[in-house]
Symmetry: none
Subunit: 214 residues, 4 copies
């Protein structure tokens, strides 16, 4: 009588979760549909009930992979702190996310590699970074307007900050043992923020000194 409960959302999540784990361990191409199915605890056929193909799983993962970032962003941006402080808070959040995602970071690079060859992926990532940049630009502009920052081009700085985040990501993947992302990211952003401040050395607020002096 009562229809079977619709499990399609759970199943989809379940499969994507499994795919992420397998992809992170083996890469897109070396990952077998069998592996994903086994990890998800379903049969291979079931994968195809929820995704048309392996490529579609990868595409869905692309979106899932780059979805988290903006969730806490708004809260941070509206915290009422100074622009410089907010930028450092964002840096801290990025580090937290990096730590949480540490097992899966290599998946990101696979996406970047694909982006070099596939316009659709490039387009998606372009949109992602555009949104990210827009948020940072408005924050930096706020800093300029409030007299906190020099009148630099906010776009250039926003891009530099994102580049810094992504580059740290990369370096951490390469050397996860000896690099300490929390420290490094903060130091980098601190230096950048100091570089655009009117009064560059208010170390107390930015915390940059505590880092530089470690």
């Amino acid at each position: 009588m009562s229809p079977r409960p619709d499990v399609s959302i759970e199943r989809t999540e379940q499969i994507l979760q499994a795919a992420m784990t397998v992809f992170a361990q083996r890469g897109f191409h070396e990952s077998r549909m069998d592996d994903i199915a086994e990890h998800a605890g379903v049969s291979k056929g079931t994968l195809y009930l929820y995704f048309k193909s392996k490529d579609e799983i990868i595409s869905a993962m692309l979106e899932a992979f780059f979805a988290h970032e903006f969730e806490n962003m708004q809260t941070i941006l509206n915290s009422g702190e100074s622009a410089a402080s907010t930028l450092l808070n964002i840096a801290d959040t990025v580090v937290t996310d990096m730590n949480e995602m540490s097992d899966f970071l290599s998946i990101g690079f696979e996406f970047y590699a694909v982006a070099g060859r596939k316009e659709s992926v490039r387009e998606f990532l372009r949109g992602y970074y555009h949104e990210y940049r827009t948020l940072l630009v408005s924050l930096i502009q706020r800093g300029i307007d409030s007299g906190e920052f020099r009148s630099i081009n906010p776009d250039d700085i926003a891009i530099a900050i994102i580049a810094l985040f992504e580059g740290m990501n990369l370096l951490w993947v390469v050397d996860p043992e000896s690099l300490k992302p929390d420290r490094m990211v903060r130091a980098g952003v601190s230096a950048l923020v100091d570089g655009i401040r009117i009064v560059p050395l208010s170390a107390a607020e930015t915390g940059s000194r505590s880092v530089s002096n470690l």
Copy 2:
């Protein structure tokens, strides 16, 4: 009597060159040994005379791919200019290299992805970045010693600079049309350098003003 001239070095280069082109167009896994052979102008069998396997071609490429960077570095480091100027010169060289390598940048990301899963690749890249960092650290230290820079942690800043370079790389792959690497990289490094200078606003020397005022 007269032995045939040994063409093995040329052949090897020839094959690696072809592999790089094909890999950049299709990625490691989508590249066929046939494609590489055709591009190299040799037969498929010949590939196996010079490389034991496809994986070995990829490994050899890893080294070839990350080899160029340090060639001009020494010249720049010994130019006698201020540390800040030298850092900006390095940024310019990086941009030049990015432009030259633009068709192949996505290969790099494939390597980073592999690095996430394969210690040998991770190790190689670790060595590469270590060397890079060492050069930058000594330069930054020179700046500190000469009173040009504040007494920050040179390692943190070196890492931040490398992260900035690599991150810019990534962003440029994603959005090659609208991003201008020369401008972006300079702006980022300028801000960083300004952030660590004792006298931050000597815009004339760093060129940061030309950027900020655009």
Copy 3:
């Protein structure tokens, strides 16, 4: 108390009807159980309530497909007309049936192909053609006995007539646009009938002249 009315016969017909449509469009192997279920307006599971397997649907269709033919036959045979006229009437009926079944004719060929490999199908079709032949033989014999036909072997002629019908079928499937079955079948049977008549040229009755003179 009041048992649900037994819908199994209707369901079975409904499914066979749907199967015939789908099979005609796609062939046995390209037809999916899903397609049949959808066409029948039932679920895939329901198919298995009425048929053990796809093969059983095909088998059931074999019988349904070759069932129609003999229904009107008796009426035609007992019409009281001459044997030659009756043969031409049969030809006309065959053409009518061909027209009605035009969308499904290719299914027949699939059965013939299966007959080449499966004794059970061969046996069924053998029975079908035997019955058909028996009816024609008795008609031809009547013609011989009544002095209408020469003393040919009625079996040979019966087989030739059936072959003519089936062959026309085939040619029409291959070239439905330019071939006109009504005309062709009549012309063929007319010639055959003329060939076995004692007085071959009574064109008025056979209608052969109208064809020959077109």
Copy 4:
């Protein structure tokens, strides 16, 4: 030095031969590429060196399957015998071919089934039958011109003859044990030829009497 001899033609034939055997035993869809490879004495991969896909093997077979017929046709047509005799000679050849191909006849029906759904196959067969018909029409017209045949429509009779051939084919596939193609085909064509002759009963020449009286 001397290049390896080109075996591509032999290989192609070898594969088609094997495919024909396997297809005849199992049908197109039930035939496995593995089976064909094994029958041909090559590996599965080798099949794909010579044919792009299973479908392409089937297409190539379509042409090979319907290619033989016209080879002897010209010789028979130019034999200088009367039109009626020539038609009977053709019938005999058809029977000979049927006997030679007996193991493979079911493949033909599979093609006819496909023809019902695929224009490309339909087109090929249309061309085949058109050529066949053209030859027969010219022969029949010769008979009319020479006063051997009545002034019937040669096209209708040509089609009837082809239909007779194909229909006999079918009946023989269904009942190979009890039907005798040589006898049946001759009887059918004899009756047809008698039906269109000016002097219908010259049994000696057509051999129809010997058949009817067996």
